[in-house]
């Protein structure tokens, strides 16, 4: 009974806070002059300090896009590095305005934590890395393999699901720490190393001879990583969501950082609407007409952000895969701006 009262009181307090915060996030941001963005303390390609001690990564670029949309200044962003345990509390307490921190969009998080996901910035999924010399071509050949896994993660559960669903045995070798997992794989204590494929790609570059290892094509779990905002402020949710859609639409329409000024003169009505030449789509969000133009001018479209931080030419070297646009065989799909 006592617990119920506490829960109700806490829920009430949360609701009250959410209520008072309603529709005010944008005003508060405009008043303070910057967007406060929660990021990781260092996941290469997503958000990590670069050689010049600036935050860099695809998730960082998303935060900068918000700054560009609101202030026409991609540097009007401040970054708060967060650990995975404190990220949601930091968002609900108002310490940050948007959480862009390799966070998987799951039902319980979306419905139970008082947050809303704005979309999917990067479709990740769990994969397998094996030694090339073992001649394994597919994850379905892994029956009986010794698998190195980090304990207490969804990775461990996903692997168990995958092997039992396909009627294969495996021998899990579990470690507490990611570094230990990699070390064990390197020392040959197991045949397979499994974790999210973006992390697999990053860890592969660290190995003695990266070319001796291959990442198998099969992805066994869904890990859509996306930015999230506090529940209860729909204006701010719209801005967070359409910032993401704007960079996706820009790629689809072929608008890049380099040609965005030329594109202002384009005859394509979709491009005209995107860049604010025709119509005023920013007004309903409390932004200027050229909000999307400012984003693309400062940071480029989705493909440019991807290639800059996680694409094949970077140290991480991830092919677009499922993150390609729907027109190129991927699943990145943005509703139209009209």
């Amino acid at each position: 009974m006592k617990n119920t009262i506490v829960t109700i009181a806490l829920g009430g307090a949360m609701a009250l806070m959410a209520g008072t915060a309603s529709a005010q996030t944008l005003e508060a941001i405009q008043a303070k002059g910057y967007v406060q963005c929660g990021v990781t303390a260092g996941v290469p390609g997503f958000s990590a300090p670069d050689a010049d001690n600036n935050w860099s990564g695809i998730e960082v670029d998303y935060c900068r896009a918000l700054g560009a949309a609101i202030f026409d200044d991609a540097d009007a962003v401040r970054f708060t590095p967060l650990t995975s345990t404190e990220r949601f509390a930091a968002l609900s307490s108002g310490e940050i305005d948007v959480l862009s921190r390799t966070t998987t969009w799951t039902m319980s998080r979306d419905t139970g934590l008082g947050i809303n996901f704005a979309g999917t910035l990067f479709y990740d999924g769990q994969g397998f890395m094996v030694r090339k010399s073992d001649g394994i071509a597919s994850a379905f050949d892994l029956s009986g393999a010794a698998v190195c896994i980090e304990s207490g993660t969804t990775t461990e559960l996903n692997a168990a699901d995958f092997f039992s669903a396909n009627g294969m045995d495996y021998n899990p070798i579990v470690f507490i720490d990611q570094d230990e997992v990699v070390k064990a794989y390197e020392d040959g204590r197991c045949d397979v190393y499994t974790t999210d494929s973006s992390a697999l790609a990053a860890e592969r570059t660290r190995l003695g001879n990266p070319d001796d290892h291959v990442i198998l094509a099969e992805i066994i779990s869904k890990e859509p990583l996306g930015p999230s905002v506090r529940q209860g402020d729909d204006v701010w949710l719209n801005i967070a969501r359409w910032t993401l859609f704007a960079i996706l639409n820009a790629e689809e329409l072929g608008v890049t950082q380099a040609n965005v000024d030329e594109m202002l003169g384009s005859n394509d009505p979709a491009i005209k609407r995107l860049l604010g030449v025709e119509g005023d789509f920013g007004a309903a969000m409390g932004l200027s007409k050229d909000w999307a133009y400012n984003i693309i001018k400062a940071l480029g479209n989705y493909s440019e952000m991807y290639e800059r931080h996680v694409g094949p030419d970077t140290a991480i070297g991830l092919a677009r895969g499922v993150n390609a646009l729907w027109t190129d065989g991927g699943i990145q799909y943005a509703p139209p701006i009209r």
């Binding site: 990590a48 970054f79 404190e86 570094d179 990053a202 140290a315």
Partner: protein, 380 residues
């Protein structure tokens, strides 16, 4: 006997002293030293041989890793990825800016340098007992310096660009947290220790409660409370700086420990000292500051410095609430793929350990020096 001898013919009497001979090699010299300190008994001989073998076994690979095969100069991680390469010092060197300043903007880093230099200028004469103007110096260091550093680093006035505390990082933040913790915990701890011995029930119980509460919770919990829970309780829009919250948490936490160390010193004093101070007609504060505390604190210098060192090392715990102290900058850089190699993380941790060692070891040497200086018959 002597008379009979005197009459006899003496065949040889040495008139002058023999020149001093060097002591036999069985008593002095390297051989004797080895014999007496390394092989004085069969048991010691076995231990010596075992230790020598252990060193032979450990030292060459350690030397090869740290110096012999280490990569000192390189453009990127490729040089460190070769087979058999040792520590990747080039990685540390290239990220040194980040380890010292964190995200502090490059064009503003002179401000941090000035703060470091000013601190050095103030703290060296303060710790050098022979130099004069101790009171002025102490005031400048404990009152003026924190204010100047705060203005210098955060900016936003006197034409300095504002640098929010989330951009502070690296060794700068480690030193800020360590120094603030040390400087506030000692006076606070003394007050709490005196309060705990007070005869006034309210003061006494408040102090006991404070000390026992803070001592009973782990520092990690305190930091989590400060960084995660506190913002939920304060009204929306009011936000206390995250670094400040951590500073307050660390200071209060270490003050509770300090109070118990100081109380140990107070209890070690014989009752006669208190009574003598009273007999001289000194009031409470005078007897404390002239008679009791100078003796009590001297007794517990090792304990105080012990707490300081523990506090300085505990500052690395702030990395779990996302504050970029030295350890966190090292950890973040360990995932820098430009320098990706097997030894990257190990090299980073060795560097962090070395920096902490330098500071903690200096503190412990200074405390030994102070003990020698102040000892007046208590030393055993």
């Amino acid at each position: 006997m002597s008379t009979t001898n005197a009459t006899k013919e003496i065949s040889f009497v040495r008139e002058e002293m023999l020149p001093e001979m060097p002591a036999p090699s069985s008593v002095v010299g390297p051989v004797a030293w080895i014999r007496s300190s390394l092989f004085s008994s069969p048991g010691n001989s076995i231990l010596t041989i075992a230790s020598a073998l252990l060193l032979l076994w450990i030292m060459p690979p350690l030397y090869n890793f740290l110096i012999g095969n280490a990569v000192f100069i390189a453009e990127d991680g490729a040089a460190c990825r070769v087979e058999g390469a040792g520590a990747c010092w080039a990685f540390i060197w290239s990220r040194m800016d980040f380890f010292i300043y964190g995200f502090f903007p490059a064009e503003e880093q002179w401000r941090v340098n000035i703060a470091f230099a000013l601190g050095l200028v103030l703290i060296v004469p303060l710790m050098w007992p022979e130099l004069p103007f101790k009171v002025v110096n102490a005031l400048a260091f404990f009152v003026g310096y924190p204010i100047i550093v705060f203005i210098l680093l955060s900016g936003g006035m006197f034409g300095l660009t504002e640098v929010p505390t989330v951009n502070w990082g690296g060794l700068t933040v480690t030193l800020i947290i360590g120094l603030v913790g040390i400087v506030t915990s000692l006076p606070l701890g003394i007050v709490l220790a005196l309060g705990r011995q007070s005869k006034m029930p309210v003061i006494k119980s408040v102090c006991v409660m404070f000390i026992e509460l803070w001592r009973a919770v782990p520092l990690i919990t305190v930091l989590f409370m400060a960084s995660v829970m506190l913002p939920l309780f304060v009204p929306v829009g009011v936000s206390v700086d995250k670094l400040l919250r951590a500073l307050v948490g660390v200071s209060l936490f270490s003050a509770a420990y300090m109070a118990e160390v100081v109380r140990g010193g107070l209890q070690a004093l014989p009752r006669g000292q208190y009574e003598a101070a009273g007999a001289l007609g000194l009031n409470y504060w005078k007897s404390m500051s002239f008679i009791i505390l100078p003796q009590a604190l001297k007794h517990v210098i090792p304990g105080i410095v012990n707490s300081f060192i523990a506090l300085f090392k505990d500052t690395s715990l702030v990395s779990i609430v996302g504050i970029f102290d030295l350890l966190n900058t090292v950890q973040a850089s360990n995932s820098d793929l430009n320098w990706a190699s097997e030894q990257q993380a190990v090299t980073g941790y060795i560097f962090a350990a070395a920096v902490f060692w330098v500071f903690c070891f200096s503190m412990s040497r200074y405390s030994i020096y102070m003990e020698h200086r102040l000892h007046t018959g208590h030393k055993r």
